[in-house]
Symmetry: C2
Subunit: 245 residues, 2 copies
C-alpha cells in the first residue's frame, strides 16, 4: 500500500509521516510532496490511491489538487488535514467530491488518536470521517439560517471581487434587476439589511459590508478570492469585451 502526503510545512509533513507509518503498518511506501502541483504529479506517476492532503498551500492549494486527482481517479481516498474549518473550504470540498468516494476532514488541532482513527477509517475501511466542528458547518450550509443558494454564493463572490451590478449581469447572463434581487436576498441572509425605521441614518454600505461579514465569518477566504480572481481575469479576456446591448 502506498500513501501520498501533500503538505508544505516540513514539520507537519514529518509529523504526518510518523502518524501514517504508525497507524498503517500495511503501508510500505510513503511519498511526500510539498505543494499541490508536486502532489498531482506524484499521484499520477505512482498509482497512489490514498492521499493525505493539506489545504492552504501554494502553488496550487489542496482543493485544486484534489479536484484534478479525483478527476483522473475518482476512487482515490483523500484525507484532508487542515488548520481551519471555514465554510469556504467545506463548500469547496463538497463541491468536488465524486459520488461514492471515501474521504475525510480532520483538523490539525485534533489529537494524535483522532488522526490515527481517521487514517484507518478512510484508507482501510473506505469510510467517510468528518470532524465534528466541520460537520456543524455542513449542516448549516445545507439547511437553515445562514445557508446560501449556489446562485447567492455566486453573487457574493462577484461583489467580493468588486464587480459592478451590470458586469455581474453580463457575466452570469442575467438582467440587472435579477442581480439586484439576489443581492437583496444576500443582504437579508447575512443580517446586513437595515430597516430604516425612524432614523434613516445608513451606517453601512451594504455591498461592502456584506463582503466584510462574509470574510469575518469565513464564508469566503483569501484563497477562495484568489481562485475567483483568476477565473474573473480569464473571463475578462474572453467575454469581457463583448458587444453591449
Amino acid at each position: 500500500m502506498k500513501v501520498l502526503i501533500v503538505e508544505d510545512d516540513p514539520l507537519h509533513r514529518a509529523y504526518l509521516g510518523e502518524a501514517v507509518r504508525g497507524a498503517l503498518p500495511e503501508c510500505n511506501t510513503v511519498l511526500e510532496a510539498a505543494d499541490g502541483l508536486a502532489g498531482e504529479r506524484l499521484a499520477r506517476e505512482h498509482i497512489s490511491d490514498r492521499v493525505v492532503m493539506d489545504l492552504q498551500m501554494s502553488p496550487r492549494n489542496g482543493i485544486e489538487a484534489a479536484r484534478t486527482i479525483w478527476r483522473e481517479r475518482p476512487d482515490t481516498r483523500i484525507l484532508f488535514w487542515s488548520n481551519y474549518a471555514d465554510e469556504a473550504n467545506v463548500r469547496g470540498i463538497s463541491r468536488i467530491v465524486p459520488p461514492g468516494a471515501a474521504y475525510g476532514y480532520v483538523l490539525k488541532s485534533a489529537s494524535d488518536e483522532r488522526l490515527r482513527l481517521a487514517l484507518r477509517s478512510v484508507f482501510i475501511e473506505d469510510q467517510c470521517v468528518i470532524d465534528r466542528e466541520v460537520r456543524g458547518l455542513q449542516q448549516k450550509s445545507a439547511g437553515a439560517v445562514s445557508g446560501f443558494t449556489d446562485s447567492e454564493y455566486e453573487v457574493l463572490i462577484d461583489i467580493a471581487l468588486g464587480l459592478t451590478d451590470r458586469t455581474i449581469a453580463r457575466r452570469r447572463n442575467l438582467s440587472l434587476r435579477s442581480v439586484q434581487n439576489r443581492l437583496q436576498q444576500l443582504y437579508e441572509k447575512l443580517g446586513v439589511y437595515q430597516p430604516n425605521d425612524g432614523d434613516p441614518e445608513a451606517r453601512f454600505n451594504l455591498r461592502s459590508r456584506a463582503v466584510t461579514v462574509s470574510l469575518l465569518r469565513k464564508l469566503v477566504n483569501h484563497t477562495a478570492l484568489e481562485r475567483a480572481e483568476m477565473d474573473l481575469a480569464r473571463w475578462l479576456e474572453r467575454d469581457g469585451h463583448g458587444p453591449k446591448p
Copy 2:
C-alpha cells in the same frame, strides 16, 4: 537567561524550543505559552525580557500580545516568527515597537541557520534583524508607489469594514468631501481608478474593488479586519448615536 516562546502550534513550539536551546547555551530556562494571553501572563510573572512570538494565534494574536508586553517593559527583545510577510503585519508591528527596542522578524520558511543567527543577534547583541522579504515591504510602505499615508490606510480600513462615506466622515471628524478625496487618492494608488476614455463601461465598483485588491495584496488581512471590527463596535456604542448636524 530566560526565553519565552509564544506559539500555538505544538510542533512549531517544540521546534522553537530545540532551536533556542541549541543557539543559546547561556539560556537556562525556556518558558512556553500556547497563545497570546498566556504569553502576556508568563512574561509578566517571570521577568522574561526575551520573547519569540508567533503572529497569527487565538485568542490574542502576536501583535496585540507584543503591544501589552512592550507597554509594561519597553526594553523587551521580541523576535517575531511568522508564516507570512504581508503589509498588514509589518505595518502593525512597526506601529508598536518602542523607540530603541531590539526586535526581529523572520519567516517560518527560513533555514535553521537563519533562525539561529536571528536568535543570537536579537537576544544577545540587541540588534534588529529583519528578513529580506519583509524588509522589501517596509521600503515600499515607507516610500514610493504602493505607499499609503496613515490617513489613507485609515479610510481603507473603514471602507473594508463596510462603512458609508458619511459615517466615515463622522468617525474621523471630516467633511464628506474630504473622505471622498482620500478615497480618490486611495483608488489612484491601488491602481483601481478607471479613466473612462471612450467606452465608459465601468467594470468595477471602485469601493469594493479597492478592498479586494488590498486583500489580495495582503495590505489588510483577516486579523487586521477583526481588530478593526472590534474598534468599530466600540465606537458605535459610544459615539455612533451622537446628534446629527
